[in-house]
Symmetry: C2
Amino acid sequence: MALPQVKAFVFDVFGTVVDWRGGVTREAKPFLARYGKADATPEALADTWRSGYVPAMLKVRNGERAFAKLDVLHRENLDALLPQFVADPQAVPLDVLDELNLAWHKLDPWPDSVSGLTRLKARHIIAPLSNGNIRLMVDMAKRGGLPWDAILGAEIAQTYKPTPDVYLRAVDALMLRPEEVCMVAAHNDDLASARRCGLKTAFVARPYERGPKQTIDLKAESDWDVIVNDMNELADAVGA
Amino acid sequence: MALPQVKAFVFDVFGTVVDWRGGVTREAKPFLARYGKADATPEALADTWRSGYVPAMLKVRNGERAFAKLDVLHRENLDALLPQFVADPQAVPLDVLDELNLAWHKLDPWPDSVSGLTRLKARHIIAPLSNGNIRLMVDMAKRGGLPWDAILGAEIAQTYKPTPDVYLRAVDALMLRPEEVCMVAAHNDDLASARRCGLKTAFVARPYERGPKQTIDLKAESDWDVIVNDMNELADAVGA
């Protein structure tokens, strides 16, 4: 049985637990049907929106701006992409944009997520360690049935992954040693950052997270402590 | 139906959701049987331990010391009460004291708490807004089946109730207006502090929380928005 000393599993969420691309595409579709340019596709809008994620967080991480919740960063990035996708950005009511911004609160869990997390929860603490803010994580969990024990992550630390404080603040809140906490992610760089903080690591392959043309994170790129294809395999691996 | 605008209920926990006196008494009993003075009772130990709670938090609230989790304050207060209850404090192994300190993680919900919270959760966000630290709240919830959506409270705010920032930081994390959040407590002073921050208020009477000789918080002492006798009455009142 793997990781017998681990008492808590903490999870990357976007891409690892839920399908951000499918969910944002679904929500963008009626929006573009109403306001979009003729050639605008919801998949491209989702990909462009997501591409603004890392640069926006970097400004917080390097101190260029104060901490702002991911909902705020998403909303700013939505404004920035409008000219590319929308015929007349000024014609879109603000409440329509505010509603579209909540697409990130309505992402569906991958088919294995709820069952795998539920199994893990029986004998371990489970919590998101996501860059998503607390309300976003709560809405997503209530809608999708994700049975978190607590919501940890960026908002608690007031900065964003991969800054070490985000991982370490979660470990501190759990009152565990770093090696008693396992980071679960579909992203090799997230696991590398967690490992540098002393956490254990579990890679869950999601080679379709970025759509059919995904080129990164197709497989584990290091000797992570556990390497699996879904959350039920993770539960199997640790005897949950 | 009361409080139609409220989207989240946040809860005082010790005394309001769980029975601290009964739980600490239960855990103290075998400890005193082994180490206690002949006349030491577990009820008196529980009451004395709890009496150190407010003064210890005050040192954090007024800046006399940096934020420390409630588990740390409880442990210090346990050391302080040992000479009164234990024959030879030096003879008690540290791991026995560390284990006894976890009594606060093992408090039973009042009989109505789980059913009432579960009903409220269906259409509202529910979270503790307690002075207990995150791990304490998580352990208590897992043991007792409290279905929280998130763990808010003192550790997020890095100070203790009734400092306004504890209430306001929870409202901020929920991304709601204060009047969309209802504080639920068995303590009139907690509700008064929440009301000053703009939150709605629900009093749940727990006139036996401090044992048979309780003299305070026997009833609502102001026109709180909802006044009930248990969590299912609260669920009834708000149509949950």
